[in-house]
């Protein structure tokens, strides 16, 4: 009998890679159908204005143009509904698919061209004459709200979260520390722009949408509802996806437009976004302004935190509704004991591109705020940053730790953790004491260098369910059919590893199906670092069931008891007695109904991974440039299914975090004109700017909420980067609290010196 191979916990190569390396990926732009029309969106060049007229005559007359739509052609389509955190009061601020009377940001779709060729479609778009009367643009969310329309103001809603007696905490506190902090506007900016291809299959009355991502089932149901169709008559197909990061795969106006056009014209309709469009049309994120205070006792222990913040959501409330400010408010306390807490988040609309989530939504922001606060408390008490954090960390004996807040429909309960141990590991990996000495010495010789530490709690594994069906195919392939999505993170490999161990097959023989609404009735998709946790456990459950079924069926044929059989590398073998074995494929072929099993994992609580980042930076006083010299991440994952992929997630997230800390920013002038519309203005880090990173993956606190102990890996790389770099810059400048605004661009840094 061969020894059983284990896959979980090993850095096996990815199943996804080969096709992608050969250039055989099928990204949205790679999908074409015979006779397709190309769609081009005409976008508002004005940040805020009244539409006086839209003259499409010249565009319609251009040879090759087949149709031009304005709002009158889409009047029957409702505004785009919310997917998460959709408070009723926010609904009047939802986005129409094409602007009707008013435009609210530069980039807002006002018309669409349908043409035989992309070049002609772009020519036609240039011929559409827009007459728009300018209205004053609102650019700063923290200023007094303005008028949205009629009696509605630009304060779309307020998020409030609190527990404990905050007023008493502040009244009796020996010390109070207050800060005013800003986080810049940036976003996921995946390398593949968005794309959508709709096709109507008239023979079967099925509307197909290709280029789907992230949440195909939810989008299927929503598109069906919006276009007045049965959901069975709408199918979504995910191909390869060139990065998600939260922003891709939400329903946008363009998705609905291609679908509506395919139905109307009975032609496949293809839309592929260009980069300028992406930077002004796809979801922005992050921009918040916080006024935060901490009440502190004589030892520097937090008695209470109060935060009022202004969330700049751009021109409309899109699918995420209040998700980002809600998460910011719920996750701000982080790993520290905060006896009393109150957060008030104003959701404000401005004349900028609307917002959604971006990797570690709300947490990149509130970790920056909280960790700045901890640094400020340390400075006030003359303590070092590590000591102040140690004094305030939640102890492992307090786990599970209920925060007394909720978010995304779940109570925030830290499921497991030893924050002090993790901090210790991070400092050890960074050789903290030695690093401090070296930096001090370099500062003495005139260099501007410094280091910082930040600690955070992440969340992952959002329910409420995931369903998985596993089938053994007659050729021996095992197919795992899921309702999740792949946005490039390695879903196929990780799910195959879990299935392989449970069932007893080679992970390379497993095909993981995702993002196909015609293959499984329901699914939750890929967001909130949920896939490995939720789909991983559903896979384990289904594989356990299938294994029992296989052994039972084999036992009959092999004339033995199921208990004396095992599955090893796809072969059903006898455990102790010698005798012939049987390939699982043979068993599948012998059964008219095949071999399959389905199971569902349900969970009403998220799981909470956590981590600590240490960064050392060097500031160039001449140029204002910040070079990140050293970077260490310690991250608690519960159980790493594939350590290399976990590391990859962390490193990638970190690079994005560095972007938001130092370079990336969607800037606007005072009239609402976007200034970051190319990669020459919106600066993403290159190989030169991202430091070498040491990642310490910890498995000290497996989640008690799923048997494998899994926690998510997707967002812990990004979460505290702004915070830790700010802290390191402060030390480099020898000026505690210097950094109050992200990104710390060279201009801003020079202004600090």
């Amino acid at each position: 009998m061969s020894t059983k191979q284990k896959f979980v916990g090993r850095s096996v190569p990815r199943l996804e890679d080969r096709l992608l390396l050969l250039g055989q990926g099928r990204f949205a732009a790679d999908i074409s159908f015979a006779g397709q029309w190309q769609m081009r969106v005409v976008r508002s060049p004005v940040a805020h204005g009244k539409i006086k007229s839209i003259d499409i005559q010249a565009a319609v007359g251009l040879p090759g143009v087949r149709a031009v739509w304005t709002h009158v052609d889409t009047a029957h389509i409702p505004h785009i509904p919310f997917r998460l955190t959709g408070f009723k009061t926010l609904e009047p601020y939802q986005q129409p698919v094409l602007a009707k009377n008013v435009v609210r940001y530069v980039g807002e779709p006002v018309a669409v061209i349908f043409a035989e060729d992309t070049y002609v479609a772009e020519d036609a778009a240039d011929l559409v004459r827009l007459s728009i009367e300018h209205l004053p643009a609102i650019i700063f969310a923290a200023e007094e709200p303005g008028i949205y329309e009629r009696q509605l103001t630009t304060e779309a809603g307020v998020v409030q979260k609190s527990y404990g007696d905050v007023d008493a905490a502040f009244r009796n506190a020996p010390a109070v520390v207050s800060l005013e902090l800003s986080i810049g506007r940036h976003s996921g900016v995946p390398l593949e722009t968005r794309g959508a291809i709709a096709r109507y299959d008239e023979a079967h009355d099925i509307l197909e949408l290709h280029g789907a991502a992230k949440v195909p089932h939810w989008n299927r149901d929503t598109l069906a509802q919006m276009l007045h169709r049965n959901k069975e008559s709408v199918q979504l197909y995910e191909g390869h996806v060139g990065g998600g990061f939260g922003i891709r795969g939400e329903i946008y106006p363009e998705d609905i437009l291609v679908c509506a056009a395919a139905l109307k014209f009975r032609r496949p309709v293809k839309w592929v976004e260009d980069r300028r469009e992406h930077l002004i049309a796809a979801n922005h994120s992050r921009e918040q302004h916080h006024r935060v205070s901490a009440a502190v006792d004589a030892q520097g222990c937090i008695l209470g935190i109060e935060d009022e913040f202004f969330h700049d959501n751009g021109a409309y409330m899109r699918t995420h509704a209040a998700t980002v400010p809600d998460l910011a408010a719920a996750m701000l306390p982080g790993p520290y004991r905060v006896p009393a807490y109150r957060a008030i988040g104003h959701i404000r609309l401005t004349n900028k591109t609307p917002c959604g989530t971006y990797r570690a939504p709300g947490r990149y922001e509130s970790t920056f705020v909280r960790e700045r606060l901890l640094d400020a408390i340390a400075a006030k008490f003359g303590l070092d940053g590590v000591e102040i954090r140690k004094r305030n960390l939640v102890d492992r004996k307090e786990m599970p730790y209920s925060l007394g807040l909720d978010t995304l429909g779940t109570k925030v309960v830290y499921d497991s953790g030893d924050y002090a141990l993790l901090l210790k590991k991070a400092l050890k990996a960074a050789r903290w004491d030695e690093l401090q000495k070296k930096l001090r010495k370099r500062r003495q010789s005139g260099e501007k260098v410094g280091a910082g530490v930040a600690i955070f709690v992440e969340k992952s594994g959002l329910g409420p369910f995931d369903t998985v069906r596993i089938e053994v195919k007659p050729d021996g392939t095992v197919e795992v059919i899921t309702g999740v999505a792949s946005i490039g993170q390695g879903v196929e490999t990780v799910i195959a590893q879990i299935c392989a161990d449970t069932l007893g097959v080679d992970y390379a023989n497993i095909r993981v199906i995702h993002g196909q609404t015609n293959r499984i009735a329901r699914g939750m998709g890929a967001f909130a670092s949920r896939v490995t946790v939720m789909c991983g456990e559903a896979t384990r459950l289904a594989a356990t069931k299938l294994r029992a079924r296989v052994l039972r069926a084999a036992a009959e044929l092999m004339q033995t008891k199921a208990e004396s059989l095992d599955i090893v590398n796809g072969e059903i073998v006898r455990v102790s007695a010698p005798g012939p074995s049987m390939p699982m494929a043979e068993l599948a072929r012998a059964r008219p109904d095949g071999l399959s099993a389905e199971d569902t994992f349900e969970s009403t609580h998220m799981v909470y991974p956590y981590g600590a980042h240490v960064a050392a930076v060097r500031v160039d006083p001449e140029t204002g440039n910040v070079a990140v010299e050293r970077y260490v991440v310690a991250y608690e994952i519960g159980r790493a299914v594939n350590p290399k992929l976990v590391e990859g997630q962390i490193t990638g997230g970190l690079a994005q975090g560095v972007g938001g800390a130092l370079f990336e920013e969607f800037r606007y002038d005072k009239n609402g004109e976007p200034l970051s519309v190319t990669f020459a203005d919106y600066l993403m880090p290159t190989a030169r700017e991202v430091p070498e990173i040491s990642v310490v993956i910890c498995e000290d606190a497996p989640s008690p909420l799923n048997p494998l102990g899994l926690k998510g890996a997707g967002e812990g790389g990004a979460n505290p980067v702004g915070a830790v770099i700010a802290s390191a810059i402060d030390e480099a400048l020898q000026c505690p609290g210097a950094v109050t605004q992200l990104p710390v661009t060279p201009q801003r840094l020079r202004a600090l010196m």
Partner: protein
């Protein structure tokens, strides 16, 4: 804009004779007219490098070149890297070092690195880093791309 002219693009050793407008970019011609969709479009303004291909031995951004400028020239794209079932050492190294996640920028990085290392096999690590900083990746944080390219450079030298 309908004055199309006939040109021949030699892509991975195969001739494609196509009719294009003067304004048609090379990347659109490669993808749409020649059906080689492995070359990706990331920005169309020459910064991200996702569309990098090798033209007459030199890595170029195919979004910044017109198709007519490539008439009669030898183009290599990601589809031409592997020999049969065997991956090119650069492709293999990307797999071994987890140098890709979503894979969208990958063909550009592969062609950039291969194009440069074929010309300058002994390039220093620091120069290589400069070269790699000319393309953008949004998933990996670059560390594994750098590792992969360095490993492949070694492998290519010993071939």
């Amino acid at each position: 804009m309908n004055n199309k002219s006939n040109i021949t693009l030699t892509i991975n050793g195969r001739d494609h004779t196509i009719a294009v407008e003067p304004r048609r970019t090379l990347v659109d011609a490669i993808r749409e007219d020649c059906g080689q969709t492995g070359t990706h479009i990331g920005c169309e303004h020459g910064i991200c490098g996702a569309c990098t291909v090798i033209v007459d031995g030199e890595p170029v951004r195919s979004c910044l070149m017109f198709a007519v400028q490539a008439d009669g020239r030898k183009i290599r794209t990601v589809e031409g890297l592997a020999s049969g079932d065997k991956l090119h050492p650069m492709q293999q190294a990307f797999m071994d070092h987890h140098g890709l996640q979503c894979g969208f920028c990958t063909p550009g990085f592969l062609m950039l690195a291969v194009g440069v290392l074929e010309r300058e096999p002994d390039m220093s690590d620091s120069d290589l880093l400069d070269v790699l900083s000319s393309n953008l990746c949004r998933c990996t944080g670059y560390q594994n791309i750098i590792k992969a390219v360095r490993a492949a450079a070694k492998e290519m030298r010993t071939r």
